[in-house]
Amino acid sequence: MTEATADHAHHDHHDEALPGTIGHVSHWQTLVKVLVTLLALTVITVLVAQVDLGRLNVVGAIGIACVKASIVAMWFMHLRYDKRFNFWILVGSIAFVAWMVGYILFDSALYQDNIREYREAHPLPTRPATPSGDH
């Protein structure tokens, strides 16, 4: 949050904004640059996934996705120029998401043995498949 500016439109440094415009006007070149960055990151994430890095694949994919999401939030969603409270709503929601995912993941890993036992006693049923006929 370098420029969490608030209420009034800061259009003085954007000569193109009309007088009295509400909110921040993004320059079209900025928007295009953001899209190019996002596309580049998409290519990178696809390329990284082709290499087998073990557990690092997950970390890398989620990491790049987080960077992409932050770029969308900061520029496309104007959070860089928006009221700071809206930024904190986003951060707060993410914190609750992390808490929920994290804790349930932690707990589920601990009770997996019960599930494994149950599954061994009750294997999933299988059913015959009909070929689609495409081959």
Partner: protein, 243 residues
């Protein structure tokens, strides 16, 4: 703010009050900020709405690595990647539509709104192709999952020549597809809702409702659209790429 609703004493408003300004606000700026705060809170709840499915994904992935490894052969990253590009592009045009509304460039506004809508439609077409293929070969949810050996993806049989469709059933591959269909399905519903909202915006833009001080609807729908995009940014690598 257009629908006329029975409210007495319309005349009480001072003459210089803009027609778009609701009676309980002092200025359009206040009205815009209040709406925007409401939208951000809505987006916050959207994240928690999706959160349950991400948790389910994390729990099953964390405890059944092998299932997700085999599963990713079923998904075509090229189609997923294409949809990513489509959705990112629509995000650009959505952001651009806000700019056009702010600058009162009506033609650009209508054009960007239409492009956003078309991208959303293209996304759904690709989604339809993916879904129908999976349903066709029987790669569907839970107990309905039954893929014949002949229909297994080539990349999978190349890597694991001995694998049988029945092994995948026993492994619980149906659970992966349950999660896959729920996550992409819920996301798809959001895309459909977004398409509806963009039609509404196009109608209003053609009618000339928006100006530099009153363009909240364009901005708020764009914010919604960006969050739909952000969720796809996560779904793409989690489902299509890492195995």
């Amino acid at each position: 703010m257009s629908t006329g609703v029975a409210e007495p004493e319309k005349s009480q408003a001072l003459p210089e009050r803009p027609k778009e300004l609701a009676m309980h606000f002092d200025s359009l700026h206040q009205q815009y900020n209040a709406g925007k705060l409401g939208v951000w809170l809505f987006l916050g709840q959207e994240l928690l709405f999706f959160c349950g499915l991400f948790t389910a994904y994390a729990v099953y992935r964390g405890n059944h690595q092998e299932m997700f490894h085999y599963a990713h052969y079923f998904l075509d990253w090229k189609l997923g990647g294409l949809n990513t590009v489509v959705l990112l592009t629509s995000s650009l045009t959505a952001a651009w539509s806000v700019r056009a509304a702010q600058l009162e460039q009506r033609k650009t506004l209508i054009a960007t709104l239409v492009i956003t809508f078309l991208c959303a439609a293209a996304f759904m077409v690709v989604k339809y192709i993916e879904y129908s293929h999976k349903i066709h070969i029987g790669a569907v949810w839970s107990s309905h999952f039954a893929v014949a050996d002949a229909d297994l993806p080539a990349a999978l049989t190349e890597r694991y020549p001995d694998i049988k469709g029945e092994d995948l059933q026993r492994m619980g591959m149906g659970t992966f597809f349950a999660i896959y269909f729920c996550m992409t399905g819920l996301h798809g519903i959001h895309v459909l809702v977004g398409m509806g909202l963009y039609i509404w915006l196009i109608i209003r833009a053609v009618r000339g409702d928006f100006n530099r001080k009153y363009y909240g609807a364009v901005d708020f729908v764009a914010l919604y659209w960006h969050i739909v995009d952000i969720i796809w940014i996560f779904l793409f690598p989690l489902l299509y790429l890492i195995g």
